[in-house]
Symmetry: C2
Subunit: 369 residues, 2 copies
């Protein structure tokens, strides 16, 4: 599964794997794909350095990348306390009441909530970049709009390609105009932040909009047949996130969450603002139902919602409160029915791709058998 | 573009075209595809007979089919007047107010509204079947659940294959258990009634769920690249509806509607209950916005909503009230940017398919160039 982009990056398969787990990122690159580590949970630069060093030691010179979250709009001099002060009391009470209704215990005194607003702030992302550029990363991806011009220039000086996610052709053209090298077209069915346009429609639209820039297709891709479909639509590779969540290398915060993912069908996700304030696909849970109910208070805008629910999410995960337990994941969760190693996922993917190519050749009357 | 199913049906391309217009259905079959005429607008059996006779004369023995709307639940002895009486006065007033707000004129006295509830009732569908089975149709499709067992048996006695639409694997298995021959997996991005699961995820799920029954992929397919993608996902053919709306053979009720379709982007549709009471993808208009607004009355269940809005839809179309003017259409509307003949659509599709096969072979390292 070789495209111009995969050749340029020196990987065996045009398979890009986004993951928050260093062990998964390293395993993807070792398996011949391109591992991309999500940096949002690293608020301390030395932790990111430790994990990039570790990946570096694992991949034997194979390429890998980093995904940061740099907001498109720069917010100067705003502290976490300033943002905290903008959260209405009624929303805080709604969180308390919902947690109480499900008997979710408090954290012990001094225990930190897992997800801090700081991971979403530009200065944190810039500290991450200082660490990242000291490593031989080959790709820098940004999940929130185009990164600032100086970051793009710095990446290019280092020979690092810059990728950005887009949910529409208009969005993709903005990336191209900002000097981005690769557009990740993220369809409606994807996990995490998504727009309304499905991968089948979005991929060729974005390919045409930014031609000749390479496009990676994201959303709805977990098998080799789905990868073949995305490549037929004009993508130069596939960008997978959800499928790695149930690999043996993943470090999900709770075994109950793994069980929920393995049991979920493709209809068990919802595109909800409950997690971050922007629509993000995730497991549908009693928690998303509460936020999405017509009589709920409505989610706050980003970044307020993420800050508001950070402690609640940590408590739900720590105490494995099953009805509320969720995670961002795409509609392919329906096919994630057993734990596999990252290597097995990549092997299944490349085998499925070959089967799909055989099939399409038979249909086209070009069978070589 | 040949699959086992297209060979069985004796067509050149595994391209199934659903359309309410006899001229489009005939042109699809003449172009080597399989034209399927939508019967819902035929309340008088003699009109359906006239149009099937006409198609018959056009297609020179090439196969074609009929799509009926038989409700899954049988409703005995309910008249249109009974259904009318179930519509709340507040909803009638909302329709009046919305039409008045946009200055939509009344119909002239005695003028019939275009769309009657009767087209959705089982007896009407059965009258249609009596006519259809007197013609050499090769396929009978049903848009609302599995058709009744006696209808399936009658079709099979006549050598007619039966197809049914499904938006989930569960739904598809019900069709298989009802003796259906072909499942049309209709993804989220499709025009008309759709579920939440996108074509990229739905197609392989349904293929696996009903194996070895053939599956047609619907939703998001208007180009040869999209057809190649659907076939890579395991479909035995593609089912296209939206793309024919802007063909030169189509008979849309208003030129203004054609202009709106040609101008619309992929983000200009919405999945709304405004038209029939069930979620159906259509152009987003001031009409759908009014129904979908949080302070609106909410759509009524099927078939009440369709009956409630029938006259309004006719008036909006007749007087070309642009802000309210809409039609069911899928997200591929963004690529419907110019009028083409049906033959040109099929030619573009088969050429695009060959390009996609070339592309996928290059990526797989099987290039024959």
């Amino acid at each position: 599964m070789q495209t111009e982009l995969s050749k340029q990056l020196g990987v065996e398969h045009a398979v890009f794997g986004f993951t928050p787990f260093p062990a998964v990122a390293a395993a993807i690159s070792r398996a011949g794909g391109f591992g991309v580590l999500g940096a949002v949970r690293y608020t301390a630069p030395d932790e990111l350095k430790r994990d990039l060093d570790w990946i570096e030691a694992q991949v034997d010179g194979r390429p890998y990348g980093l995904d940061v979250v740099m907001p498109a709009k720069k917010v100067e001099g705003v502290t976490e306390a300033d943002v905290e002060a903008m959260i209405p009391e009624g929303h805080r009470q709604f969180v308390k009441n919902t947690l109480a209704a499900y008997g979710v215990p408090e954290l012990t005194v001094g225990e930190a909530s897992g997800w801090r607003i700081t991971g979403w702030m530009e200065q944190v992302a810039r500290n991450q970049l200082d660490v990242a550029f000291d490593h031989p990363i080959k790709l820098l991806a940004n999940a929130l709009g185009s990164p600032p011009a100086d970051v793009v220039a710095r990446a290019h000086d280092k020979g690092v390609l810059v990728a950005a996610l887009a949910g529409s052709a208009r969005h993709a053209r903005k990336h191209r105009d900002a000097g981005i090298d690769i557009v990740v077209a993220q369809g409606y069915e994807a996990g995490g932040h998504t727009g309304e346009i499905a991968t089948m429609v979005l991929t060729p639209e974005v390919v045409e909009a930014v031609d000749p820039l390479p496009v990676l297709a994201a959303g709805g891709i977990g098998s080799g047949e789905q990868a073949a479909a995305a490549l037929a639509l004009g993508a130069q590779g596939v960008w997978l996130g959800s499928v790695w969540l149930t690999t043996t290398e993943a470090e999900l915060p709770s075994p109950a969450l793994v069980r929920k993912l393995l049991a979920a069908g493709s209809g068990d996700t919802v595109r909800s603002r409950a997690l971050t304030g922007k629509p993000a696909r995730q497991l549908r849970t009693a928690w998303t139902d509460a936020w999405d109910a017509p009589d709920g208070p409505g989610a706050l805008p980003m970044p307020l919602q993420g800050l508001l629910v950070a402690e609640a999410v940590t408590r739900i995960q720590k105490y494995e409160v099953e009805p509320l337990l969720g995670t961002p994941v795409g509609q392919i969760v329906g096919r994630m029915t057993g734990e596999r190693s990252v290597q097995a996922v990549v092997d299944d993917l490349t085998r499925g791709f070959e089967r799909a190519v055989d099939r399409i050749n038979r249909i086209a009357g070009r069978s070589q058998q």
